[in-house]
Symmetry: C2
Subunit: 293 residues, 2 copies
């Protein structure tokens, strides 16, 4: 299996990055990922002010050039494994998150991860390991890795986890896939701006679909499809994700647009992925039982 | 058991309404509720333009005067039963919902409800009966029943269902409780602006708590507390609900505000209730396993 080490990272997605590996469609590979702070916070005494070079946050391992990937194709990323390392870090930081204006003093919490569990403030929490940053190069320019978008990026979506497939629109030849920013766990919303941020080793398979017309990232699990929309506000992100989800229901079930819209209202769930990044992310969850597939 | 018929309704919550019943704390009562269109859409040939008097939408049965309820108390509403009637209605309406601007022709769908199931566009959907409008009179003025707020109102929140308790801040003597707008089912977000809108018979118990300092509606189920925030935008609603949830975790677990904030980020879930009413509603779900209760 091909492997990429965690020193091969980018901080923005774009075609100016030089690929660190070339793979064929269908190949499975192992990528080591760095944590979102580039492992600059590892001891309880480390501080955001003194230890963190903020030009090095949100690294993603890659980019990976996928042979035969062309604009308007779709990259399918199947996630086989997310191995957590032995510790993660969570912070409360002035200005960060939904209530960042209420943080008086920044704080760093180093959190041991044992047997898929963490302890925080005296409580046990079961981990839900997921990939925070996962994406491809956009068609033009660069998108910093702290930002999500149609190309993927910092979607911070809980369902991007083992067993799921993530579908990403391809914008340039080779796709330029990259991933990083694993969370041992987080809640929907990621309200303080961080989950349990940790290094990891991820195994995934990259494939290319030629006949898929999704314009935003889509996640597939055993039971659901999720249409993932990112925009400046949650309200705009909802509109974007619902628009694409309704179009998918309409086309898949060959029903009128009105029927697909009402169906979405009755039986799909709008869910908050994250409310804290430069663009906000929501997803619309469609049960497969609703679909003619 | 005291009963209120569905002809005793209000269209806005406020102290100018005359109570239709007085109850003591701890009393269980049965209320019939009207559907959100006041049963003006009952046949497949009925239309929004020709059959609906829009001054009569969103009726709530009540108001009910609860003895001993005073400002700064909390009204606890425990929901024992939501009996659905034999049919409901869903509409796609020009201008209504997240994609209302894309609705070309309004449409009315009468939907039979059988054995807690509905069929829509060829698919079977299991009902999740819930109460859309549930609230008390605000301290000043009137709030139309189409609008949610700190007083409750049109929160359209799926978890307001059988087995749950809803806690509402009391603003005036007697509380002036009212409820209506039952949905046989809806998805989180209620994206087209309607669920399966139906008449129902609801059984609930009203109680008064004197030592509770919640400033927004809270829902309790076996496993979770939900803090429910409504505001002009989803982003503002998230901030409001998270603020109250973090304060609750801080006070309940006697931890620092920073710790409560990080705990919320790691293990609570921000959820969209509805994205379509004049104010939008989100809830923050806190697992009871996180709390020292």
């Amino acid at each position: 299996m091909k492997k990429i080490t965690r020193d091969q990272v980018i901080y923005a997605m774009g075609k100016s990055n030089k690929p660190v590996m070339h793979v064929n469609p269908g190949e499975t590979l192992q990528i080591e990922t760095e944590d979102c702070f580039s492992y600059q916070l590892v001891k309880p005494t480390d501080s955001l002010e003194e230890n963190v070079d903020f030009s090095r946050v949100n690294p993603a391992t890659g980019p990976i050039f996928v042979h035969s990937a062309s604009p308007r194709d779709t990259l399918k990323v199947s996630i086989q494994k997310i191995e957590l390392t032995e510790q993660g870090v969570t912070v409360a930081m002035k200005g960060l998150g939904v209530l960042g204006h209420k943080v008086k003093d920044s704080q760093v919490e180093i959190i041991p991860i044992k047997k898929n569990m963490i302890q925080f403030a005296g409580k046990e929490i079961t981990c839900r390991p997921m990939i925070g940053v996962i994406g491809v190069a956009p068609g033009e320019g660069e998108v910093p890795n702290n930002t999500p978008g149609d190309h993927g990026g910092n979607m911070d979506t809980l369902d991007i986890s083992v067993g799921a497939s993530v579908y990403l629109p391809v914008f340039i030849e080779g796709a330029y896939f990259a991933a990083g920013d694993i969370h041992a766990t987080m809640g929907n919303g990621e309200v303080c701006g961080t989950g349990v941020e940790c290094r990891s080793v991820v195994e995934l398979t990259l494939d290319i679909l030629k006949d898929c017309n999704w314009r935003i990232p889509v996640i597939e699990t055993n039971e659901f499809f999720y249409f993932v929309g990112s925009a400046s506000t949650l309200d705009q992100a909802v509109e974007k994700a619902v628009d694409e989800a309704v179009m998918f229901i309409k086309q898949t079930n060959r029903v009128s647009w009105n029927s697909a819209y009402m169906m979405a209202s009755l039986a799909t769930d709008v869910m908050v992925s994250q409310a804290v990044n430069p663009l906000k992310t929501v997803r619309v969850r469609i049960p497969k039982s609703l679909l003619d597939i």
